[in-house]
Every structure is written in C-alpha cells, then in structure tokens.
Symmetry: C2
Subunit: 336 residues, 2 copies
C-alpha cells in the first residue's frame, strides 16, 4: 500500500512532514510517496530512500494556507495537493494525506476524484478523542459552511460507515448537535434535519448539546461545517490553554518529587492533555469523495503526520470508500 | 436597590437559590425580593427576613425546564418568572435574576418589558472568564437560533455598551465568530454581517476563530444564538471533564505533599478550573430588553446565584439599560 503525502502543506512543511512520513514508513507496513519539490525533498530523504519503501513525486507548485482555495487550485495545476490527488485517481497511491490548505484539498478532491454517487456534499469527519471511551466523530467539521438538511443526513450515513468499519463501533449512535435535547429545539436547519434523521434506519439518538460532545453520549456528532469548525477550534483553543499547564508536570520533574509526579499523571491529567493535543492526534477524513483523503491539522508536526498516515492506512485497509459507495448507492431505507 | 430573584428556577431551587440570595444580601448593598411560593420560602428564610433587606413575593406557579417556553408562559400567568419580570416593569425591583427556563425568561421579558427601540432581537451576553485577561462577552449565546445579519450587528452594539460600561473596556474590540480569519470566510450569515460591521463605527477587529475565544483577541465575540449556545456548552463540557480532575488536587492534599500541592496550584491549574466552573461563575445578561434581566445557569448553586446578583447590581449601577436606550435610538453612525 502506497500513501501519498503532501510534503509542501502545513506550517511545519517540509521538515516535520518528511520526518513523520519516514516514521510512518518505519512503523507501519506502508510505502510513502512524498509529493513536493523534488530537489528539496531529495536532500532530506536521500539516506532513507533506499532503506524504506519511499519515493518522491515532483510537484513544482505550492498552495499557501491563506490563498483562496478555488482560485489557487485552478491557477496552480502542478500543486503538491493536486499532484497527490491525481496519484490516488490513477491508482498510483491508495490514499492522500495533506496538512495543507483545507479548502484546496477539498476542491482538488472534488475535481480530481469526484463525489460518490448519492453524496451531494462530502464532509470532513474529525476524530475527537476527548473522553476515555471510543473516539467521537464530528462531521462536518469544516467542508460546508452552508448546509441543507439532506447534507446532514448524508453526513450521518458517511459517519456511520466510518465509525462502524474503522472505529469498530457495531451500531454507531448518531447525535445531532443542537442547543437542547428536545425535538423542536434549534434553528431551522437542525429542526428539519431531525425530522429526516428520524425516518432513516440509522441509530439516531436525538439531539446532543455542546457539553454532550465530550461525554460520549453519541459516537457521531452531525452538524453543519460552520458550527462544526467553530466547535472543533474552540476545543483546540481550550486544549491550548491546558497545554500551557504542561509545567504542571514540570513542577514535579525533580527527582525527589517523582512519586507525586506519577500520582499526578495517574489522575488522568497527563493522558487528557495528550488527547486534546492536535500535535499528537492524527487527522480528519474527507468522506464522500471517490478516494481516501486525510486532512491533517495545519500545525501538524512529525508525530501527527505519522498518525494521519496511520489513519489513511486504516481507511484503505477497511475499504471504507468501497463500502460507502455500496451503501450510498442504495436509497436510504426508511425505519419501519 | 432591590433585586428580584426567581426562587423557583434552576436545578437546585429553591434551596441553593435562597442560600445564594441570602449571601448576596449579606455581601452586597442590595435588597432581595425572593419570588416563589410564599409558604415554602417563608420556612427557609424566616430567620433572615428581619436581619436582612429581604422580602418574599408570592408566585403560585413554576415553569419547568423542559416546558415549551411560549406555551408555558401563556398558560402560567402567575409563574415566578413572569411575577419577577413584572416587579421590574412596575419599578418594584431594579433587576431580575433567574436560573429557570431560559426560553421562558426571554419570552416573559419580551412580553413584560418589551424591546428597546432599535433592537430587533435581544441577545444573551455570556461573560466568559477563560483567560487571565479581561472577561470576554459572547453574544448571542442562545436567545435566537435563527439570525439575520442585522441582529448580529445589533448584538455587537449591545455588547459594546456592556463591555465598556460594566467591564470597563474603553474601546471594546468586536470579533465575529467564524471559521477563518480572512474576510469572505464562513457561511452567508457571517459574510453579510462582516460587510455590515465594517461600515459601523464599532471597534470591529474582524473574524475570530474558535481557538481565538480563549485567547482574548476580542472583547466581544458576536455570533448567532445557535452557534453561540453550542460553543458555550462545549466549553462547559470540557470544563466538566477537567473538573473531574479535581482529584489532581486531592492527590496532594496529604500533609507531606503540601509543598507540591502549592506548587501545582501556582501553575494556574487551580484558578483555571475555578474560572471554567459555571457553578462558581455568575450569569448572562439579556441585553436589548427594557430592564435588567440576568440569566443564571440552570445548574447554579448558591455561589453562582450570589455572583449573578452581583452582576445584576453592576448592570443597574452602571445604568446599562438607559445607555443602551440612548445609543440604540441614534442611527448607527457609519465609519467615515
């Protein structure tokens, strides 16, 4: 299995991306196709190329984070993003991982891979690991700022396949992100979506409020891409605040405090900090396009890139795309 | 100054509400009018009634948290909420504090007090104290699930008055909650709102992403009531998760660990936990109605109620309502 990796995308490109890709090639049973400027990448990887299953695919252009996606993709046909997507389309890679401009990845994937039949809008499924229990999928976490009820129902179906096939949840509980638990709460979008979700055969458990996200009362949190993105970044922001408390641990790093230190981390603080740190977590899956595309955080460092490649490998290994194709091709069965 | 307090609203009513009200009467220079069932309240307060400036105002009905607000308010004219609002309208109280059904408080305030001229929709301004710096106002945090750009501009103006007059920020920075920093990001609502905000004389600093909320890059975060409510509750949920880590502190409560314990709290963990705990924080102001109305958290305990009464006192003392009336009466001056 070859995973294409955008070596030019993200705040720490190319150095941390390359480092993460090398680590993934060492840790997992995958080959890596690094996409970016060949001359630059060769210098960094030459001593690994022979030992690992690793190649460089030249892409002369880079799309910056602040560029308007559609315009940039159209103006730069040889961007690392588009070249990576094409590798997937042509079957030269099984998946594409990028920490670059999210909008550009989304638009390139739509252009290069197209939508799966039955999917009006692909959604970004972010894997939240806030609670001790199974990770929670937040979909859509940023692909579609303006949504219709139908899109949200499709997100629920896409998320259900992913949660079941990759995260191993037998009958994933679908929650609709809302301002209250009762039916009828929220804005027009969620009110209409609620009515539609009730009619599907999905395991719809009703509305989930903001504080329910971390509680694990649903395996999939369905929302529009505007709200989802704001929520995701809010969680990150609070995570940042807590990361600054890392010195909590440092206080106890003195040898004579070792006992206390272990006790501290036993309370869960250490693992919680780790779980909300996007520098350590993997990436989000773009679900609904014809191919496996993983969107890593723009601030991903080596460890996060390695983990994102791990997520890509899982998605490919479980055949998520094919299963989505089969399930979306059938009309949504109504609950009897 | 008399503050009317809804003794029947909230998860811990009436016991914790009464306790908090008594504490406020002791700590602040305010009189309290407890609104609820006279017989019940008399038992709890009799020994304080003579010593403190405290009275009981009878209200025979209670609106439960899960009741549909409009219907409940119409069906229960003698609810503690409506009776409290009427005390404000009749000038018998300067403000009303309730931890009850938010929708019912909102609707009762609209019915009983009415909107200030120039305000199409009142907004709930929640005071977030996540960062070390000045508190951040989140408006609207739940009054209006469906918003128009105009409403958001009005929220910005309402929030500006509150931030300046009560929180003491000379020229409050207004940020628009969005999915990216650049103009043009987000859904149609925020795109149109951005264009309008640019034309006002408000100190509009542009878009703020989710992780910007805790960073204090804006003094006022403007958003629709759906997104605002979800974000507020998401923050609460993560706060809950961290509160469970209180045992972090307990680990060090043994005497021989006292030194470590102080060091731990010096790192800021203790104060951060305190700041995100809504059981300790005050309440949110309903801005844009003709009277001071404070919405406390449904799970408020005595301390939170006391603090909410403190917020009410500040609002009244600073004449927030009158200043809003004056400023909203003028047409919004365009930035030259």
């Amino acid at each position: 299995m070859i995973i294409a990796v955008d070596a030019a995308g993200g705040e720490y490109a190319p150095h941390e991306i390359v480092k993460g890709a090398i680590k993934a090639a060492q840790d997992y049973d995958v080959g890596i196709a690094l996409v970016g400027r060949k001359d630059l990448l060769y210098v960094q990887t030459s001593r690994h190329l022979r030992k690992l299953e690793m190649s460089i695919v030249d892409a002369s252009q880079t799309i910056e984070d602040n560029e308007p996606p559609v315009e940039a993709v159209n103006r730069k046909p040889d961007s690392s993003i588009m070249v990576g997507i094409k590798l997937v389309r042509e079957g030269k890679a099984s998946a594409f991982v990028s920490a670059g401009n999210t909008g550009a990845v989304l638009y390139s994937a739509l252009l290069g891979l197209g939508r799966i039949e039955g999917v009006e809008r692909p959604g970004i499924a972010s894997i939240l690991t806030l609670s001790i229990a199974t990770p929670v999928l937040l979909i859509d976490s940023g692909a579609n700022a303006n949504c219709r009820p139908n899109y949200l129902v499709q997100f629920a179906r896409l998320g259900t396949v992913y949660s079941r096939e990759v995260l191993g949840v037998p009958s994933p509980r679908v929650g609709l992100l809302n301002t209250g638990e009762e039916e009828g709460k929220g804005n027009r979008l969620v009110q209409e979506t609620y009515a539609l979700l009730k009619q599907t055969d999905l395991n719809f458990v009703g509305n989930i409020e903001g504080h329910g996200i971390a509680r694990g009362t649903a395996d999939i949190i369905v929302t529009d891409g505007f709200t989802g993105n704001v929520v995701l970044k809010t969680l990150e922001g609070l995570g940042d605040t807590f990361l600054k408390l890392r010195n909590v641990g440092q206080v106890f790093s003195n040898a004579y405090h070792m006992e206390s230190r272990h006790q501290l981390f036993d309370t869960g603080l250490g693992s919680l900090i780790k779980r909300i740190d996007y520098r350590e977590s993997g990436g989000a899956c773009l679900l609904g396009v014809n191919g496996d595309v993983i969107i890593a955080h723009g601030r991903s460092q080596a460890k996060a890139i390695r983990n994102a490649i791990g997520i890509a490998r899982e998605s490919v290994g479980r055949g998520v795309c094919q299963i989505i194709r089969e399930e979306m091709a059938q009309p949504a069965p109504a609950r009897s």
